[in-house]
């Protein structure tokens, strides 16, 4: 009883004493002790800047003196306690999963942050749909899909392990300078720029955790390097643009050979002719607009649907449509204000496809058409199209510019993919290494002229450039159960439209299409003729590559010579190879070109109205026997 009484009197004293000690300790170590200056940022006080200023490296729009730290990085601004202040912070604010609360708040960039999440670059929608289609999961290469939300079907597993790193929706966890290995990060994937000082500061931080005082800048000056990481893969437009073609095998001893380039991911590239725009010093964003990359608010299924620019916008046949700065949309006017180098444009060309203003293409004070490098400020005077481009020659109205101005494109004609259930692979979605790996055995990486095919662009059929999207066998046996004890194999020969980004100033000559089996989609080979009655010849085609047992076509072909190709032919529902009738039309001209070179005189006399010329052919002329059939060997 006595002890209980003592405890009863002693416990409150003990508890009170503890509380006083804790309070004294707190007062001694109070994190907000001695804070004198509390700048007002965005209408409130922000504790972050007390510790983190001065911080340099920003442009004025993102200066922490104006927007603080928490506008982007979140956290708790109303405490000086480090742990509390950093709670809920995001290291990479541009990640699309966070963007509603960071870049995309109503005070900052609500429109773009909202739109960008539905773009092809953010979702990889087209890639997902095509992959599922090729794997036989769906009946069409058009459909929804998001690389950030994949299931566990063979196609989705394939995407998870091979493709899902390349999209803006991929979460970036570790801040680092942009290079060829950079992936994801949402807004920061394109808009973050590390200066030398920022790189040094990051390195110091990584070594000894010293808080950096230099921040990478957030800028609209998106460089080619920002695009290179993802776009050097798949269609390889970034590498093609700079004049590099991927070597099939890693060549030994070429690391110092200027004819080769070794990328950070270990792939070797061989020197080819670069794109003329690259040679002139143009960046990706000098052609591509914010609306193409960050979205126009519509759901597009494939890249060519999302693109708003066309060659004719800078190289018009006639005087282009223009608008003044007062007619620009609000967002265009804002961007223009930030790009001081574009001030010499007085009227802005509007894209022929979407009627959106091209902010760096327009008329100068003298009314001359100019293009200005958005980053470089360099002024270009785009060439007018050659007379031959003006549809002088009937039958060429449907040709896109790139049909003639694409000297080469990467072609991958032999790919075998199988599933190794015992190997380990990185799941790009979860970031974990998991069992089961898709192994790609590729072959036949060719740099050659693309095939021409037909594509319906929504209004009319056009002739465009295509490459083997996938000539592939997929062995799913390791992934799914064998059917009746047999391996589950799929063979696909689907070509994809490509804008190869290897534009040459000078177009290819007539023979490059009319006497070229590759351009006709037949693959490499030789045409030969066999005499017929009354000057008529039968054309034969001997392919260079062996025939595939699955469909009887040469390995590198899209279609057969004078054969109708049915079934699945393309990664698009609106595309097909040349039909037999169209092949005959092409070859018919090709036969004439053998003797009658495409001089100005001959163009006028023969090719400008070819059907009429056929009516008056001489006895020595050869004509194509339309009933000729191919005999591939």
């Amino acid at each position: 009883m006595k002890t209980r009484g003592i405890l009863k009197g002693f416990l409150p004293l003990l508890f009170g004493g503890m509380a006083i000690v804790a309070s004294i300790w707190w007062f001694i170590s109070a994190p907000n002790k001695g804070v004198k200056e509390l700048p007002v940022i965005q209408g409130h006080r922000e504790g972050c800047v007390v510790c983190h200023l001065p911080m340099t490296g920003f442009n004025s729009a993102h200066d922490p003196k104006a927007i603080g730290c928490a506008s982007c990085h979140l956290g708790n601004t109303f405490t000086m306690d480090k742990g509390q202040a950093h709670k809920g912070m995001v290291l990479v604010p541009g990640n699309l999963a966070q963007v509603k609360r960071t870049c995309g708040t109503s005070k900052c960039h609500p429109l773009l942050a909202h739109r960008v999440r539905d773009t092809l670059m953010a979702t990889g929608r087209g890639m997902v749909a095509v992959d599922r289609f090729v794997f036989g999961d769906t009946d069409s290469p058009i459909g929804g899909g998001n690389l950030s939300r994949l299931g566990s079907s063979p196609a989705d597993d394939h995407l998870r392990k091979l493709c899902a790193s390349c999209h803006l929706g991929k979460v970036k966890n570790n801040p680092r300078p942009i290079d060829a290995l950079s992936r994801g990060g949402g807004c920061t994937a394109c808009h973050l720029r590390y200066t030398k000082k920022a790189v040094d500061a990051l390195e110091i931080y990584n070594h000894n955790r010293k808080v950096p005082d230099v921040h990478p800048s957030l800028s609209i000056e998106v460089t080619r390097d920002h695009c290179f990481g993802c776009h050097s893969r798949s269609g390889r437009i970034s590498t093609s643009y700079e004049g590099w073609h991927e070597a099939e095998k890693y060549p030994e001893g070429v690391s110092h050979n200027p004819g080769y380039r070794i990328l950070k991911d270990g792939r070797a590239f061989v020197r080819m002719s670069p794109d003329i725009h690259f040679q002139r010093g143009m960046d990706c964003i000098d052609c591509h607009t914010w609306q193409e990359t960050m979205g126009d608010g519509k759901l597009h299924y494939h890249e060519e649907d999302q693109i708003e620019i066309s060659c004719e916008d800078c190289h018009p046949l006639q005087r282009p449509d223009t608008i003044t700065s007062s007619e620009l949309r609000e967002i265009d006017a804002k961007i223009l204000k930030r790009r001081s180098v574009l001030q010499s444009i007085k009227r802005f060309v509007v894209a022929s496809k979407t009627k959106g203003a091209l902010l760096n293409v327009g008329l100068d004070a003298k009314g001359k058409l100019i293009v200005i490098g958005k980053n470089s400020g360099k002024i270009y005077h785009p060439k007018k199209p050659a007379p031959v481009c003006s549809n002088q020659i009937s039958g060429h109205e449907r040709l896109t510019c790139q049909s003639c101005h694409t000297p080469w494109a990467p072609n991958c004609i032999r790919c075998h993919t199988y599933y190794d259930r015992d190997a380990v692979a990185l799941d790009h979605l979860s970031g974990r290494r998991v069992k089961g790996r898709w192994v790609e055995q590729r072959g036949g990486l060719l740099a050659r002229q693309p095939a021409l095919g037909i594509r319906f662009d929504g209004k009319k059929e056009i002739i465009d450039t295509f490459v083997p999207g996938m000539v592939i066998t997929i062995d799913k046996s390791g992934f799914v159960r064998k059917q009746n004890g047999k391996r589950v194999r799929i063979f696909r020969r689907v070509f994809a439209p490509i804008s190869a980004h290897t534009t040459a100033a000078r177009g290819i000559d007539c023979k490059a299409c009319h006497v070229n089996s590759v351009a006709m989609g037949l693959g490499e080979g030789l045409f030969s003729s066999k005499g017929g009655r009354l000057g008529k010849v039968k054309i034969r085609f001997r392919p260079l590559f062996p025939l595939r047992t699955e469909d009887g076509l040469p390995e590198d072909a899209w279609t057969g010579f004078l054969k109708e190709k049915g079934g699945t032919v393309s990664t698009r529902t609106n595309a097909r190879p040349l039909s037999p009738a169209e092949q005959i039309k092409v070859i018919r001209v090709g036969v004439c070109l053998l003797c009658h070179l495409p001089t100005k005189k001959n163009i006028r006399r023969i090719y400008s109205d070819f059907p009429a010329a056929l009516e008056r052919i001489g006895p020595l002329c050869l004509t194509v026997e339309t009933s000729a059939s191919g005999h591939p060997h």
Binding site: M18, A22, W26, A30, N32, Q42, G43, R45, G75
Partner: protein, 273 residues
């Protein structure tokens, strides 16, 4: 109660009702003393609410009980609503986004009452661009009321010294360990009210007619006022109903606190951004 009131008086010295959010920001970022006092005020208030609630639950769970006069019971009945009003008005007086939204919700609920709604709104909350009226009620009207009601109910003016030491000590320790913060503007997509109103928030999310909620609360209050004067069977049934309702409210609170994310969708705590 006394700890909360004492710390409230101290806090009023540095609190600016014309710029509530800014004055609290300055306190939190540069005034350790006021931060500490605010912590004590916050935690002692929370303890007051919890202990009052537990006391009520304890009394309700007992069978029968002493018969008391209607006026005495009426006074008792007003204690819990007054405490809740003090709590929510204090929450609103932070002036941060959560506080502003809580004010809007309260204003909306009062506004649903036909005829008297707007008058009540004006009398209790004042104009939408000023905190003057609600501040007045927080520091004067409601505080005085709770002091009177508590003294009459407890039949003593001064608190027991030992209880005072425990409550003050616990509030001090809680204040230094869990310093109450402010919600940064725009940082959270999904703003939740104070824990004791999260259940109500959850019900409001499901209920298309908030008026029914207001009426239900009023009916419950009237029934509570009449509780000791009802036949024993009905009294027991109502008590059981109240305990069950409190349990359901507790479950809703837990769901609202820990299992809802953006757009009020179900989300596991670790899956929320």
């Amino acid at each position: 109660m006394y700890v909360a009131m004492g710390s409230g008086v101290a806090l009023a010295l540095v609190y600016n009702v014309n710029r509530p959010f800014e004055s609290l920001q300055i306190i939190m970022l540069s005034n350790p003393g006021a931060t500490f006092i605010r912590g004590i005020h916050y935690w002692s208030s929370q303890l007051f609410l919890v202990l009052t609630g537990l006391h009520f639950a304890d009394r309700l769970s007992r069978r029968g009980g002493n018969r008391i006069s209607f006026m005495a019971w009426l006074q008792v009945s007003f204690i819990l609503p007054t405490v809740l009003f003090l709590m929510i008005s204090g929450f609103i007086l932070k002036g941060d986004r959560a506080g502003l939204l809580a004010g809007q919700v309260l204003r909306g609920l009062l506004g649903t009452l036909p005829a008297v709604g707007h008058w009540l709104d004006f009398l209790v909350l004042g104009g939408s661009d000023s905190f003057q009226v609600i501040y007045l009620h927080h520091i004067a009207t409601a505080s005085l009321l709770i002091v009177i009601l508590t003294i009459r109910h407890g039949e003593r003016v001064l608190p027991e010294a030992r209880s005072l030491v425990y409550i003050l000590g616990l509030s001090m320790i809680m204040s230094v360990v869990f310093t109450p913060g402010l919600l940064p503007n725009g940082a959270e997509l999904h703003v939740k009210g104070p824990w004791y109103f999260v259940g109500l928030q959850q019900i409001l999310h499901w209920c298309a007619r908030p008026l029914w909620i207001v009426i239900s609360c009023m009916v419950a209050f009237v029934l509570f006022c009449l509780l000791p004067f009802l036949p024993v069977r009905i009294e027991s049934a109502i008590k059981g109903l109240v305990v069950a309702a409190l349990f359901v409210y507790l479950v809703l609170t837990v769901i609202g606190m820990f299992f809802t994310g953006a757009d009020w969708q179900f989300a596991l705590p670790w899956a929320r951004p």
